[in-house]
Structure formats: structure tokens, C-alpha cells
């Protein structure tokens, strides 16, 4: 899976949690989940669970704490996929 495909899939996962449609439609690697997409911080937990299910990976708490934007999330998912 290339990066574009990965971002596209991540975007689908994030959709139900975001309340800022404009920022969502213009999502880039730099987009921040909380500051740009207005995602409730408690929902980051749900996003991680959805990512684990979609990509069949396990994300530990240390990685999860860093997954606050698209770029870092993609990096972490790529690393997990490569280690499979």
C-alpha cells in the first residue's frame, strides 16, 4: 500500500469523529486531529481501535500518544505494516 492509499483509508476512518468538514475535505499530511479537525480527545482512542482493525496491527500506548496528526499516524502505521 502506498502512502496515498494509506491516507485515503485513514481519512475514511477519521470521518465520523470530525466536526470540521472544511478541514476534513482539505485534509493533508499536516492536518492535526484535535486542532484542525476538532476531534474530541477521548475519541482518539476509538480512532486507534478502528486503525488496528482496518490494518490488522497493534498500536501500543507510546505510539498512540504520538498519533495526533495525519503525518505521524501514517508513519506509525507504515512501520507496523512493514514489521508484519
Amino acid at each position: 500500500m502506498n502512502k496515498e492509499e494509506l491516507i485515503a483509508q485513514l481519512k475514511v476512518i477519521i470521518k465520523p469523529y470530525t466536526t470540521n468538514t472544511e478541514a476534513y475535505d482539505n485534509l493533508t499530511e499536516e492536518t492535526d486531529f484535535i486542532n484542525d479537525l476538532n476531534i474530541n480527545s477521548a475519541n482518539l482512542v476509538d480512532i486507534i481501535l478502528d486503525i488496528e482493525e482496518a490494518f490488522d496491527v497493534v498500536i501500543d500506548n507510546t505510539d498512540m500518544e504520538r498519533m495526533l496528526d495525519v503525518k505521524t499516524s501514517v508513519e506509525i502505521i507504515e512501520t507496523k505494516l512493514a514489521a508484519k
Binding site: P16, A42, N43
Partner: protein
Amino acid sequence: MKKRVVITGLGVAAPNGVGIPAFTKALKNGESGIRHDAQLEQLQFSCQIAGQPQISDELKSQYFTELELRGFNSTGILYGVIAGIEAWKDAGLTIENNENPDWDSGTIFGSGTSGIDKFRESIYKIDELQVRRLGSTVVAQTMNSGVSAYLGGKLGLGNQVSTNSSACATGTEAIMMAFDRIQSGQAKRILAGSTGDSGPYIWAGFDALRVCSSKYNDNPELGSRPMSGSAAGFVPGSGAGALVIEELETALERGATIYAEILGGNVNSGGQRGNGSMTAPNSTAVQRCITGALNNAGIAATQIDAINGHLTATTKDSLEIENWTKALGLSGADFPHINSLKSMTGHCLSAAGSIESVATVLQLHEGFIFGNTNCEDLHPEITALIDPLKVPLKTINSNPDIIAKASFGFGDVNASIIFKKFQK
């Protein structure tokens, strides 16, 4: 000076009607909300009938966002939010999205437990070593105050936001707490009410106590028989009732519909002394609760036109009638009309007091006394105390001015309220 307190909005999710129009129609026509429950049968309950509000997915989506409904598994919060928001809108109040909450408005919305199905689901995950996969909403759905927290957020309430809990007196107590807070000038309006979860995991304990109706599994609508000589236990129920309780002054300023006035009430306990216990009421305390409510309301017993009783359809119904006759000093043909909603809804437990108070207020507002079903064979101990005509079997179109409501609960706790048709 104490503020006058009125009711300006009503909402309900009852087994025999979701929404005030459907519920009012059911009340007047004696429509039952008791149905056969396949899950209870499968789990070999002795009582396999129950009262559960019928909620479609479409209705759900009017009150909850798609995100809120992900992993949502709390019927109590579902019913409470539907009833609460209906009452709020019915009162002519809007849902604002301002920077600050509405500091003058709060909610006291009671519950016995919260999200028991979500709790069960979580316990299975925890025991399978899946704590980290519980998701983010287990606390919000299973904390007892979940229902008031959901309502407080949806409505932007900035006054007291709390959940009270006093078993089957919960709903009636919530209204009294709201009344006290408004009467003393600490809030202008409180969304008061209560909710109760559905399902085997909430009802099992009662089935185990052998206090539920088990002889009508094939005839659900005949199963709940308050005051009947053939009553043999209550039918478990669930749902929510909600009332916007408001200071008279602001209600008049807003030009709101005033459904009724709360003249006063009383809350007490029998302390599990005398003939009271964890599960049985102390008669002296019940009578004191009622006389205390009359005193607090400043009315005489003879002014009461009707009573909406607790009357669950257990062996305690005759004792409750006896307590009313003693507390009011009225019996035979002098006794007011009395009815029990539970013949149509079952015993909605923590939600009972609020759903029944909604029914009581509707009777005052629309001028009727709803008929009791399933008690054509009135219990002989009751006919020995009061004139059978005081237990109407069909709805009567009288124009009641004052109705007394009482609820009693495990822990030997009591609550009673005096509602009156509003007059300036």
C-alpha cells in the same frame, strides 16, 4: 418569599406510548404496553412479559448523532434523552449553541443504574483481557449520572446537573428536588425526570425475589393487575418521563403553556423500622409522607380529587390503600378516585415516578381520570376500605383540580407530590 413552581413541558418514552400525543391516547383508551419478551423466555425467567418503549432507529437518529450511536448500548440513556429533549422542546425552549451554558437551567434526572447492557458487554471484554479495546464511552454510558450528563451536554445546561437514585421513588423524588431548588430561588428551571434500563440484566433480581407476575406469559396484556384480587406480582417495565419544572414568573414572562402547578410534597424514609424493611414499607412513614405533603402544599385531604398511587400489583396494594385512607382520614365513598398506571406499563422501577407524574399532570391539564385495567375483580381487602366506584375501570371525563402522587421504593423510601391545575 417562596417562588411558585409550575410545569411547562412534558416528555415521555413509555411502554405504551413514546411521545406525549401517543402516551395521552394510550392513557385515555387503556392501551397496554406489556408484551411477550422472547429474551426473558429464552433465559427461563418465571415472568416472560415486560413493558418496553418501542423505539425505531429513525427516532434514535433524531436524538443522537451517528458518532454517539457507535457502540451505544444504554437503553436508559436512550429513553432519558428522548423524553428529556421532548419535554424541553414542548416547553418552548430552544437548544442554543452559545459560548456559555444556560446558567439558570439544570437537570435532575434520576436513574437506578445506567447502561447495564454496556456494562455486561464491557465485563466480557475485560475478562477476555481486552481492556484496551473497550472504546471511549464506557464510563459515560455506565456511570449512574450518564443520563443527566448526556442531557446537560445536549441542552447546554449550566445550573445543577445531577442524577438522583432512590429505587422506585427516584422519579418522584427528582421532581421534588427540582421543586425545592426552584422554590428557593437557586434555579429558574430544572428538567426533572428519571429513566430505567430495559432487559433481563436489570429485571433478573426481581424475578429471583419471586415478586413478578408469572401466570400471564401467554396473555401479556392481562399480566399487570394492580388492586386486583388475582394480582400476583408486578410486570417489569422501563422507559423515562421528563417534566420541565419552572419558576412561575419566568414561565409567565415566556408565555409558556402551564400544565400544572406543584403545590408541595414530601420525601421521607421509614428507616426499615416497625413493619418497614429493605423491601417492605413502614406504614407509619408512608402515612407521614402523605400528610407531610398535604401540610407542605397547604391543602386539606378533602381537596384531593384523585390519587395516582404506587400500586404495583404485589400483595402490598391493599396496605397502600389502607395507608392512604389513614393518612387522608377518608374512606368508603369519601375516598378520592384512585388509579395506577402500572396496569398499562408494568412497573417501570426507577422511571415509574416520572412517567406516572407525566400521566398525572396530563390528567389535570386535559381534564380526565384514566381508567384502571385488569382490576374488574377488585381485591376484597380494598373493597372493605373504599367504595369500588373510586377505582374507575374506564376513563372518566371529570375535571380534577388536585391530584396526589406517591411513589415508594426499596430501602423503605417514600416520595409524594401534590399537583394542581394552574390558576393565576
